[in-house]
């Protein structure tokens, strides 16, 4: 069931187009990674989806509400972790959460809810301390608690692990995965490609417009031809000649004692390749399908788009 749907969502600021024709669907319980360089329009997109700014053209439906209509109803159903975790510095963590939570009609027992989420983000012991005394990471966790407070159907997270130490970042990632298993839909904007690959069901790469959208594995297949890399003790002409005779090998590159073979289905064809090499007298040290990292996919797409 789609929880986020956008149709040709476009936002212009004067002559400058920040977001152009964004059309996508995010299903219930899905974690969608939204990747892009600085200035790509990610925050503008999240602000449109969260009903904070209006699109110039197109529309979005989030949790069954048009984002340019019935804003209050929309905001009852979403949680938004903004890029900077803004809090009233003189007020305690508890008081900050009670203030923000006080605007939701859906929160029945606010004090209990505040305690629950302060506990989840590990700040219960610091509940009465002024936020001014908190580290960047603690503020980030408190901001996450604020976004979770209304127990929203959809969470918009803008750089949720930014400023966190590795342990805290891992806790946040685990929490995101847990929320997704509970059926919450998460729209995650991040620069952390490893994080996106680890926790997102699908990845979108965005630069004013949507460049690509899919599962990390599908993106690899879609964007890069598949390759097998074989390291041998030595490579003679017989080995090269036998490999060139294989019809399914589209391209063969040689670099030192390392062979790189481009083919459609490496998993199925690798045994055949190994057999040919051994018959030609070759001694194989290592044979693997080359895995492209999300970073390579990302950089490749962004470079292509710049051209």
């Amino acid at each position: 069931m789609p929880v986020i749907e956008t149709h040709e969502l476009t936002r212009k600021f004067g002559d400058f187009t920040a977001v152009e024709n964004l059309t996508l669907v995010v299903e219930k319980g899905e974690v969608l990674g939204f990747l892009g360089p600085n200035g790509a329009g990610k925050t503008t997109t999240i602000r449109m989806l969260a009903g904070i700014i209006s699109p110039t053209r197109g529309y979005a439906v989030v949790a069954g509400q048009r984002t340019d209509q019935s804003i209050e109803l929309l905001h009852e159903k979403i949680g938004f972790l903004t890029e900077s975790p803004g809090f009233y510095q003189r007020l305690s963590a508890r008081r900050n959460l009670e203030y923000f939570g006080g605007f939701y009609a859906g929160i029945k027992d606010l004090k209990a809810q505040v305690r629950k989420y302060l506990g989840i983000v590990g700040l219960l012991e610091r509940a009465e301390k002024p936020v001014a005394t908190f580290s960047r990471g603690m503020k980030q966790r408190l901001a996450l608690a604020r976004a979770l407070l209304p127990e929203p159907e959809v969470l918009f997270l803008d750089e949720p692990t930014s400023g966190l130490d590795p342990e805290a970042a891992r806790e946040v990632r685990d929490l995101i995965v847990k929320l997704s298993t509970e059926g919450r839909t998460i729209f995650l904007s991040t620069h952390n490609l490893a994080e996106a690959e680890q926790i997102c069901h699908r990845i979108s790469i965005f630069r004013t417009r949507l460049l690509v959208l899919g599962k990390p594995e599908d993106l690899r297949r879609q964007l890069f031809s598949r390759r097998v890399v074989i390291r041998l003790e030595s490579i003679g002409s017989e080995i090269l000649a036998s490999l060139k005779r294989l019809a399914f090998v589209k391209k063969l590159d040689l670099e030192g004692n390392r062979l790189s073979l481009e083919m459609d289905n490496p998993q199925a064809m690798l045994p055949e390749v190994v057999k040919e090499i051994v018959q030609a007298g070759g001694r194989i040290l290592e044979a693997n399908e080359e895995r492209r990292s999300l970073e390579e996919i990302y950089l490749n797409l962004i470079r292509e788009d710049k051209k």
Partner: protein, 271 residues
Amino acid sequence: MTAHRIRNILLKEWEVIFKDLNNLLFITILPLLIVAEPLAIMWAVSRFGGSSVLGSSLIQSALAKLGAEIPAISVLTVDQQLQVLLLSQFKFFILFIPAVIAISFATFSILEEKQTRTLEPLLATPVRTWELLLGKALSGAIPAIIVCWACAAIFFAGVVIMGWGSLNTLVLTGSWYLVLLLLTPGIAVLSFLLGVIGSSRAKDAKNAQNLIVVIILPVFALIALQVTGIIWFSPLPVLFLSIGTWLVDFLVLRIAVRLFQRESIVIKWQY
């Protein structure tokens, strides 16, 4: 829910405002200084001879208009007449209190939100922008009005303490009550709205509060017009003045509401 949300905003605003020592000092010391100043002037005039001042044609003209509103002053001594004239100026002088308190609280409130970057997460909650604006306006206007009324009470108590209590019955006319009940809230709201407008584009309180001249200068003008006898603000002119102020409030409110839309705050306001 609206009343609950506005109460939520009010309580938070006051908690934040009154946790700041500068604000506490500002709301107590400045009004007391404003009250003390006319009492000191009155004392100086009564001590160092009002007769010479009364020779001025401007003061004579003002006294004539005052006499038209309060015929009973004709039986007072010259010094007492002058004291009643000065006491009557305080009804405008006191307007500085709601003006400065409301604009200060507005700029403090908005700039605090801007500096701590709390507006965007706040705008992502179900609060309506008009609820937010109204909650903030009340959080500035209510203390401004209460302090103003308290200062008026302290002022008249001061008049009694200094031995001029018999004059209070002459001074506390309908125009005074109109100033306190109609004009003071109007000025407090106007100051607050100007504070919001100033704060939307400013990065610090000093710049944000520049718009206070829009109120301070007209108040000075009112005092000058009255003390020189050009216009005497009897109840009817004060009523018109109050209605005019509320009309200006309405126009400025429209500008403030436009500036206070989610999109304007996120995109156009300077941070």
